[in-house]
């Protein structure tokens, strides 16, 4: 009975999970698997951006900067001989630590000014990465990052990450981990305080939320996650160069979040996967793709302010209400339920 209810409520997510897990088994093309790996890495970056931008309402444009900090941190530490599994949380911690100081400075500003000041930090990281040749090797970047250290498994042997399939599962593992962390955070009272700050700062203060430290906490967690994402990206690519801190990456992730659905769990992933595949599909168009991309973005902002996920949930509720109305005759009750289902700030 209990399982039945669980299945009924979550069938879509289970289906998606099965699809994601069986993807490299069903699709044999290395090309598509590689695009999927990239798309899901971008999805991770977009997920953490959604935490500060969507849930907390602070448009941080330093996201690629912190992504770059994580990537360079992992490149340097693993090249020095540290195991990937230690270097990865260290990359996150490094980005979070720098984020703490940047947050202390920039979070004193609001709205556009916060966006501008974080954008500046992102650009600084990009310039430093390109110019501090002794450490970062300048524009050529650091190459030859070793693949993740194999995990020994008793009796079976060891789990290595040299094959593309296993790299795909590595990304899936971290994507699910990020989803879990963000889901738990957003649904806790602490996460509610992020949304409270976004919606109404006066009211947030009246209920006893310290708005500054709340924003700072969200910023630090965001940067920890994106620092780790940068580390994963670096190890999968086998090298880093200053482009990993380029602000155009930030704007791409921003677009994924907006197209997918701001402040929704699924939005960043939907946006990242769809747009990445669309861009690949139109590869022959070259730079003109950006014009189409811009058009999609403008349309999304005007017509679907809650993104594709918002459109989908509304359609789903309408269909459910329609059929529920025929079956039970309790349209009013269903309407009350749908109001609850749309409960996102």
């Amino acid at each position: 009975m209990k399982y039945n209810k669980f299945l009924k409520q979550n069938w879509l997510y289970l289906l998606l999970l099965i699809a994601a897990l069986s993807f490299p088994l069903v699709i044999s093309s290395r090309y598509y698997i590689q695009i999927m790996i990239t798309a899901l890495t971008w999805a991770m970056a977009a997920l953490s951006l959604n935490l500060i931008l969507g849930y907390t309402g602070q448009a941080s444009l330093a996201h690629a900067g912190f992504f770059g900090l994580g990537a360079y941190s992992l490149a340097l530490t693993t090249k020095a001989g540290l195991s990937f599994w230690l270097a990865l949380p260290l990359a996150g911690a490094f980005a979070a630590f720098i984020g703490l100081f940047i947050g202390l400075l920039t979070l004193r500003t609001r709205g556009h000014y916060f966006a501008i000041s974080t954008l500046c930090f992102g650009v600084i990281v990009f310039i430093v990465a390109g110019s501090w040749i002794e450490i970062t090797k300048g524009a050529t970047g650091i190459l030859g990052i070793p693949k993740p250290t194999p995990i020994p498994i008793p009796f079976i042997g060891e789990l290595s990450f040299t094959s593309q399939t296993n790299q795909y599962y590595l990304v899936i593992f971290f994507l699910l981990l990020f989803l879990f962390i963000i889901y738990r955070l957003v649904n806790s009272l602490q996460g509610l305080s992020f949304m409270a700050v976004r919606n109404n700062e006066v009211l947030a203060e009246a209920v006893g939320i310290n708005t500054f430290t709340t924003k700072l906490l969200s910023f630090v967690v965001t940067n920890f996650l994106v620092g780790m994402t940068g580390g994963i990206y670096a190890v999968l690519m086998g090298g880093v160069s200053p482009t990993v801190a380029g602000s155009n990456l930030t704007f791409f992730w921003l677009a994924y979040v907006i197209i997918g659905g701001v402040a929704t769990m699924a939005g960043p992933i939907v946006g990242a996967v769809l747009v990445t595949f669309l861009m690949e599909y139109m590869y022959s168009l070259g730079e003109y793709r950006l014009a189409i991309f811009g058009l999609i973005l403008i349309m999304a902002i005007i017509f679907f302010p809650r993104g594709l996920v918002g459109v989908f949930t509304r359609l789903y509720q309408k269909i459910k209400d329609y059929f529920g109305g025929i079956r039970g005759g309790g349209a009013g009750q269903n309407a009350a339920k749908s109001r609850k289902a749309n409960e996102t700030l």
Binding site: N199, L203, A206, V207, G208, N210, K340
Partner: protein, 235 residues
């Protein structure tokens, strides 16, 4: 419990509160009367620490709070229910109440008890538990705003114009509930334009005009005072 000495507050370049002194004792039920723009909301925000006074001192439970941040003042036991039914409209009624208990989020038992208490006080909130706060009627939203302010288990509750924009029957209902909250032991400072309602339920009152206290006294005397009657009771 609450003591203001010569408090002045600026908003931008203009002085809104000009040297207000007042005192509220434990268990009191005090009203703050004043017309639109008299400075009631600014005074309340100053007491709650959301705005900082440029002069004078605010003392709450014997501690000087005029330099404290708003969240620390809430933790000391002061809760502000802001004017205009501020809620988190897209969160459920239940989650709005949970937000009110933010400062004691580790105290699960206490939160449960408080939720039981406010649901007993406002049964409609139990019925509408899962509904989005924005879909409630005006009166229900005001009840939720008061209930949320109570969720931090305050010793002093600042109620900023709970009657604004509500039908007379609902105003009476809310007035009864507020009185009940005071009788259960919470000290209440109530700001109102609806002087008739406020003076009927409170024990004492202050009259604020252009940022200064122009009159104070027991409510039953204020209600018969000529100046008050002319200005606020339409008599």
């Amino acid at each position: 419990m609450l003591k203001l000495r010569n408090v002045a507050t600026n908003f931008g370049n203009s002085v809104i509160i000009r040297g207000v002194s007042l005192e509220i004792k434990k268990g009191d039920f005090v009203s703050l009367l004043g017309s639109n723009g008299a400075g009631k909301t600014t005074l309340f925000r100053t007491i709650a620490g959301i705005l900082k006074p440029c002069q004078g001192t605010v003392e709450f439970k014997g501690r000087q709070t005029n330099r404290m941040s708003a969240d620390k003042i809430v933790k000391l036991g002061l809760s502000l229910c802001p004017e205009g039914r501020h809620l988190f409209p897209q969160l459920s009624v239940h989650k709005n109440l949970m937000m009110g208990a933010y400062i004691r989020r580790r105290d699960h038992k206490g939160i449960k008890r408080s939720i039981g208490q406010v649901q007993e006080l406002f049964p409609i909130l139990k019925e509408r538990k899962e509904q989005m706060a924005g879909t409630l009627s005006g009166g229900e939203q005001q009840m939720l705003a008061i209930a949320r302010a109570l969720m931090s288990d305050p010793e002093l509750l600042l109620l900023d114009e709970p009657s604004i924009g509500l039908a007379p029957l609902i105003v009476k209902n809310i007035a009864d509930k507020v009185k009940a909250i005071n009788e259960m032991g919470t000290t209440i400072f109530l700001s109102e334009q609806n002087a008739n309602m406020a003076l009927k339920i409170t024990g004492r009152g202050y009259v604020l005009e252009s940022g200064s206290i122009i009159m104070e006294g027991p409510s039953n005397q204020l209600i018969t005072d000529d100046v008050v009657r002319k200005a606020y009771l339409g008599a």
